[in-house]
């Protein structure tokens, strides 16, 4: 009987710790986290942060399965775009704009298309990849490739 009671106490303690740990995890998720999202059919297995950066800079033009990658930007001047550029690309707004100006002159290419909320176009377009705030996320509509945590 005593052993049962000890076991129960241990179980309760374990559950308590688990709850606390879960609580901490869920607290770390902020609505200001930026989620890099892609169409559900995109094969992004094994692609790391650097590869995603290349896709958003149009250096890498296809996914691993050969489908054309279609990066989408938030509109110029928005907080989301600015934060995304800093967190993933490591560039300021000014530097990114300079990059696209030079990109156009060098290659004749165009910078990525812009959407206020990328979740809808990413859902619809095969090969599409964009980014949104966690608060805009709708479960099951797109796949999350990377989470860029909100800066404290």
């Amino acid at each position: 009987m005593l052993e049962n009671s000890t076991l129960r106490t241990k179980t309760m303690l374990f559950c308590l710790l688990l709850t606390l740990a879960y609580g901490r995890t869920s607290k770390a998720e902020s609505p200001d986290d930026i989620l890099v999202i892609a169409h559900k059919a995109v094969d992004a297995a094994g692609l790391d942060r650097a590869a995603l950066k290349d896709i958003f800079l149009k250096k890498r033009l296809v996914w691993k399965d050969g489908v054309n990658a279609v990066p989408m930007n938030a509109p110029l001047g928005t907080k989301l775009r600015k934060e995304f550029q800093e967190r993933l690309l490591g560039k300021s707004e000014n530097e990114t704009q300079r990059y696209w100006e030079e990109f156009k002159i060098r290659s004749g290419g165009a910078e990525p298309v812009q959407f206020g909320n990328a979740i809808r176009p990413v859902f619809h377009l095969r090969g599409a990849v964009g980014y949104i705030y966690r608060a805009q996320y709708q479960q099951g509509v797109v796949q999350i490739l990377l989470v860029l945590p909100a800066t404290q």
């Binding site: 296809v62 704009q97 176009p121």
Partner: protein, 508 residues
């Protein structure tokens, strides 16, 4: 949905207490009924009494009930998890349904644009220079270059970019120029009866009676491109030769100095070709990519953009590897070009019936290679290109004075020759935060060593350049540089000279 009263832990606990108390009371009553009233308690027997046996039986019942309770609780937990899963699925499907149903919204129609249907852009760049050649009067260069400080609109390039489908696109880049106005077509050489001629494009508008000067237009590149795969694309048209760094990155808003090196402007390798190009990019590992290109074209020639004057097509092969880490990057590339260039003139030798003979005036075979390197670490840029080629004539033209485009009057012929050029650039970009926004300031130093023809003493040019490139905005570059140009083996350019140049370059 099924409702389970045992779902909550408080209910479960309450049930356990109730069961325990019930069992305890029932047991106690049963024991009391078996005891005669008022009888004294009997001494404890050695063996297990009937009460002990009864108590043991009750414990077993309690354990069994507790086990059933646990089982019920487990089933309830499983049911709860299942319900949660179903709830998530319903939410997911609702979201997807909402997305599908919103197809008629304006935003979805914008999505169709992403499908690369008839996307068309016009943009470009321009620059304005102020330059000054400080050349001693006794130097040949004094008459060759403008003698006074001058403003000039040098580049006004417009891009027409169209993405017709996801894989098919076209690009045209057109340069508008005030030239040939002011071009010195020939120098006065009294001994040869040649007169000085400067192009004047002035025309008169017959209605307004207004005089104005016409300019020129140069198609820098125009091609259609089909790129079905990342590692394979094909383009056809008039394209930049995919060599080096600054031949393709030619826009003044992209270049760090005011003008590209002599090796590029003197076309040690042809700057453009007309033909087809296979190209692509592969990623052997993350952060590293390889670009390749194979070119087949008319090669060089006076009419190469329109027709070839020989049957030998020029071949070229480009390979470039780029490694990009978080704060640094390294790029190494090479290009090999092999082709024949021919020039002809035509004579009508018979009139009935008319016959036109084609006479080869000049023909040479060229094999030229180039190497390029670009290293970037934070704001530091180290860049260099090397080119080397051999030219062998099968039909030799008369030798022309370098830069003057005047044939040697003493019938000297052009010799087979080797050409090689190298340049190196060292630059560091400082990013400053100013009240007007972020600003990039890049001081640079550049060295060039060029031998355009190892048989001609005037064709060795060494240049030192230093300057500053300021980017007050992503669209604007302000540049200033000072150059010292030297012809160390020349008998005509008796001394080196200085050039000062400022530039405002804008992309729009």
């Amino acid at each position: 949905m099924m409702h389970c009263p045992f779902l909550s832990s408080s209910n479960l606990r309450r049930a356990q207490v109730c069961v325990f108390l019930s069992v305890f009371l029932v047991g106690h009553l049963a024991w009391a009924q078996q005891q005669p009233a008022g009888s004294p308690p009997e001494p404890k027997p050695e063996a297990a009494s009937p009460q002990d046996a009864q108590s043991s039986s009750l414990d077993e019942q309690v354990a069994a009930i507790a086990q059933r309770l646990d089982q019920t609780a487990n089933e309830a937990a499983l049911q709860k998890a299942e319900n949660e899963k179903l709830k998530n699925q319903v939410e997911e499907l609702s979201s997807r349904l909402e997305m599908v149903e919103s197809e008629n919204e304006a935003e979805f129609s914008a999505v169709n644009d992403v499908g690369f249907e008839r996307k068309f852009d016009i943009y470009g760049f321009m620059d304005v220079e102020l330059y000054y050649f400080k050349i001693p009067e006794e130097n040949t260069g004094h008459g060759l270059f403008p003698s006074h400080s001058s403003f000039m609109v040098n580049r006004f390039n417009l891009y027409f970019s169209s993405q017709m489908t996801e894989t098919l696109s076209a690009l045209a880049e057109v340069r508008f120029t005030f030239l040939p106005q002011g071009y010195e077509a020939s120098y006065g050489i009294p001994a040869m009866g040649s007169e000085y001629e400067r192009i004047d494009t002035t025309v008169l508008d017959p209605f307004m009676m207004e005089k104005f000067k016409t300019g020129g237009l140069s198609i820098e590149r125009i091609y259609v491109q089909w790129k079905p795969l990342g590692w394979l694309g094909i383009l056809a048209g008039h394209f930049f030769t995919p060599y080096g760094i600054w031949n393709v990155d030619h826009g003044s808003s992209v270049l760090i100095p005011v003008r590209p090196p002599f090796a590029t402007t003197f076309q040690v390798l042809p700057s453009t070709q007309t033909g087809i190009q296979l190209f692509g990019r592969v990623f052997p590992v993350d952060r590293l990519y390889l670009d390749y290109a194979i070119t087949l074209s008319n090669g060089r020639g006076p009419t190469e953009a329109i027709y070839d004057l020989d049957e030998n097509k020029a071949l070229g092969f480009r390979l470039k590897g780029v490694y990009e880490a978080e704060n640094w990057g390294l790029s190494l590339g090479g290009y090999l070009f092999w082709g024949e260039s021919t020039d002809v003139y035509k004579e009508m030798t018979k009139f009935k019936p008319p016959q036109i003979d084609v006479v080869k005036k000049e023909s040479f075979t060229e094999l030229t290679g180039s190497l390029d390197l670009l290293f970037q670490l934070y704001g530091l840029t180290v860049q260099g290109e090397f080119m080397r080629g051999k030219v062998q004539y099968s039909a030799r033209p008369l030798f022309e004075y370098p830069f003057l485009d005047v044939e040697n009057p003493f019938s000297q012929y052009q010799a087979d020759h080797v050409k090689w050029c190298v340049y190196g650039l060292l630059a560091y970009r400082f990013d400053l935060k100013t009240p007007w926004g972020d600003m990039g300031i890049t001081p640079f130093f550049m060295y060039e060593h060029n031998i355009f023809d190892d048989t001609v003493y005037d064709m060795k040019i060494i240049e030192y350049r230093g300057g500053l490139n300021i980017r007050p905005s992503p669209f604007v570059s302000l540049k200033y540089e000072v150059e010292y140009v030297d012809f160390p083996t020349s008998k005509n350019f008796t001394s080196g000279f200085w050039v000062h140049a400022g530039q405002v370059a804008v992309s729009f």
